[in-house]
Amino acid sequence: MSFLAVEGLTKTYPGVVANDNVDLEVEQGEIHALLGENGAGKSTLVKAIYGLVHPDAGRMTINGKPYAPTRPVDARDAHIAMVFQHFSLFEALSVVENIALGIPPERAGRFGGRTLAERIRRVSEEYGLPIDPHRMVGTLSAGERQRVEIIRCLLQVPRLLIMDEPTSVLTPQEAESLFGTLRKLARDGVAILYISHKLEEIRALCDHATILRGGKVVAHCDPREKSARELAELMIGTELAQPPVRKPGAAEVLMKVDRLSLPASDPFGIALDDISFDLHAGEILGIGGIAGNGQEELLAAISGERPVEREMVMLGRRAIGHYPPTRRRKLGICSAPEERLGHAAAPDMTLTENALLSGMVREKLANGGFINWSASRYFARAVVESFDVRTPGIEVPARSLSGGNLQKFVIGREVLQRPVILAVNQPTWGVDAAAAAAIRTALVNLAAEGAGVLVISQDLDELMEISHRFAVLAGGRLSPPRPTETYTIDEIGLMMGGKTREDADVAS
């Protein structure tokens, strides 16, 4: 008999059916994949299991007994633990304090005491999750934070462990060590519900898969018997459009970043350290790395959000390091930061206003301090039409668009300004496959027309696919860019962990 059984679970939000009659069975000791695109209903389903979401219909049983959690505490009492995609950790507290908060008081003992720290050490050794219990969480890397979450779960002796996209923040090596931990847990009889949209890792790790699309279960299968392409088609439903890659044309250097250093702006931020690279006309330079290694800071230095020394950024022969964003835009340096709502776009302003905010200078949407609204609307409509942004109109607030559509709008708005240089961070993060393909194609075409494109991303597959040259950002330092085809995945993984190419050569 299965450990957890879900039957006919349905959850409706206004305008969306997040889960539609979903069935799921998870056995003890199996690693069960929950596969689906963003918005397919994976998160709603696991939140219902964890007691964070209350389903409208359907029932759940644990070992045959009815199970209807109303709070996460109920789930914990049923020995269900969850590692969230966005860690629910407290940065200003230590590892021990964080863990003490996550487990019931009678298990925690005195949180400052030696006992809990000792137990943390024991579990971390047993499952290969090295961590110092007394470090402050704000100083830990994403991989280490995930270990904290996992240890917190393990201390509660779970029988079902839910992992929500655990590898999205890990290096390939860290992911491999996580898989080792998960396999060991499964051997010990723990059921694992593993959410991901990375097909290869699911095929390598999981025994069963339940595939969701649009809130419905479309298949139960054994992922090891399916090819990645079959799984992808089950997940997405249509064939994928591949962006065409073209060889770079002229080798003229458009922008030169020279020994760029920038102190961290907040205590948990990261300082950029001696970064140098050239950006050529017609090329896409891909920058990989794990989140929080200086990506945002690098984009801010390129876009002008954080001014640096004059000579650190050269556009042609002009030193522009100290220029603010507007002056850089005038010269043709456009950018789109990672956070769509609140950084790339003002959530409560309309698409027209958002188009105006970024396009004002290059599209001449303002004249003598007065806004030219008709030109702004024309520009916004052009972005919506040429990038297939699904929206009821251009006078709706940016926050009402779905992630993928807003991302297409944000990228399209910059591309249509015919930039000389375009810098983007995480252009396809949290975007469905069709929109991601459209965005990549737009970037490739922009480069083909002679612009220099800088793509910062954590999606290695994406960077391998579209970039001509590639470099890794780790701990605020950038490796020297090289043609993409000269890399191996192992080497990139080691570099993402902060090792130089020489170290990587030695290791391999």
Partner: protein
């Protein structure tokens, strides 16, 4: 120049009395802010506590009942703030400011018939023999009860926040309310407890002014003490002991300023001496914790310069407006110096401070 009138023991005793309302209000606000709520209504809660406590003490003839009433009144007003910000999700800054205005107006209204009345006296600690000891007796063992209550509150808050599980949960709520919620902690309820505690403390601080320090009722008698308490919390980097230190410093300069006006000496003399003393305490604290001693040295040096200036021109007088300004200026200056290490200050600020929380996501 008659320095003999500057009796150091009496000075320190009155310094402690001047500091106590700030300690009370400040420690309450510290707990509130540690839970992630910014209540700018301290001044309003203090003055309502002042008049409520005064009225109750006069009505019953019992100062203890007056203090209890003051705490209850402050708590009640704070819970109005809690209702508005935690359930109706009103903006905390605007609500806090409104609370101050409501409190000031309400207190003036209730206080009309109480102007000029003398409240019943509060007993002082009097341990036979011990309280009569020279120097030590008046310094440590003969204050009114609230001084010891305030000190006990500082210690209790320090232990609660740093050593107890409940305190850890409260800090967690202030640090990241979404994460605390997803772990199953009742964010809103915890914040309401904190808000109520902060209100009670502010009410007590106000009643200390009207019943013990002054003691009588005058309209607007808190005179910005609530705002100073708020500033103390921020510049004390949300650490209980530093709130106590800041309050004593402020109380010290207030006392000195009053005394120097009476004594016709250059206020730079006592001010410099106080800066020297505070700098010395800080330097010792820094060195014993093996931290950089730059800022305390700056303070010591400033104190020495000011003192030297005072000794060279012992008869120089400064306008009384400048003198009245001095406590505010010096306290803020000193605490800014202390919290000048930006990284550490940013670490100690509760990350969710002032942000609205709704348990929907």
């Amino acid at each position: 120049m008659d320095l003999s009138a500057l009796d150091p023991v009496a000075l320190i005793a009155s310094l402690i009395v001047a500091a106590t309302p700030l300690v009370l209000a400040g420690i309450g606000e510290l707990v509130v802010e540690k839970s992630g709520v910014l209540n700018l209504g301290v001044e309003g809660m203090m003055i309502v506590g002042a008049i409520a406590g005064f009225a109750a003490a006069v009505g019953t003839g019992n100062p203890f009942l007056g203090l209890v009433t003051a705490a209850a009144a402050g708590m009640l007003l704070a819970l109005v703030f809690g209702l508005l910000t935690q359930f109706l999700l009103a903006n905390q800054v605007a609500t806090g400011l409104a609370l101050t205005m409501v409190g000031l107006g309400l207190a003036a209204l209730i206080g009309q018939p109480y102007a000029g009345i003398k409240p019943p006296g509060s007993p002082r600690l009097d341990i036979p023999h011990v309280s009569d000891l020279p120097v030590v007796g008046p310094l440590l063992f003969s204050h009114d009860a609230m001084v010891y209550v305030a000190l006990a509150l500082v210690i209790a808050t320090w232990l609660f926040l740093g050593r107890s599980r409940a305190g850890l949960v409260l800090r967690a709520v202030g640090e990241n309310h979404d994460a605390a919620h997803s772990l199953g902690y009742p964010v809103v309820r915890i914040r309401l407890y904190a808000i109520a505690f902060g209100g009670a403390c502010a009410g007590l601080g106000g009643a200390y002014l009207s019943l013990i320090r002054v003691p009588q009722w005058t309209e607007g008698m808190t005179a910005g003490a609530g705002w100073i308490a708020l500033a103390l919390v921020v510049f004390a980097s949300w650490k209980p002991w530093r709130v106590l230190f800041g309050a004593l410093l402020f109380g010290g300069i207030t006392t000195l300023q009053l005394n120097t006006q009476a004594l016709n000496i250059n206020p730079a003399i006592p001010a410099g001496a106080l800066l020297l003393a505070a700098g010395l305490i800080w330097l010792v604290a820094s060195l014993s914790a093996s931290r950089a001693a730059g800022s305390p040295l700056v303070m010591l040096l400033t104190g020495a310069v000011v003192l030297a200036f005072g000794l060279i021109y012992p008869r120089m007088q400064i306008g009384s407006a400048w003198l009245s300004m001095a406590p505010y200026l010096v306290t803020i200056l000193v605490l800014v110096l202390i919290s000048s290490d930006r990284t550490r200050a940013a670490l100690s600020a509760p990350h969710s401070l002032g942000r609205l929380f709704h348990p929907s996501s």
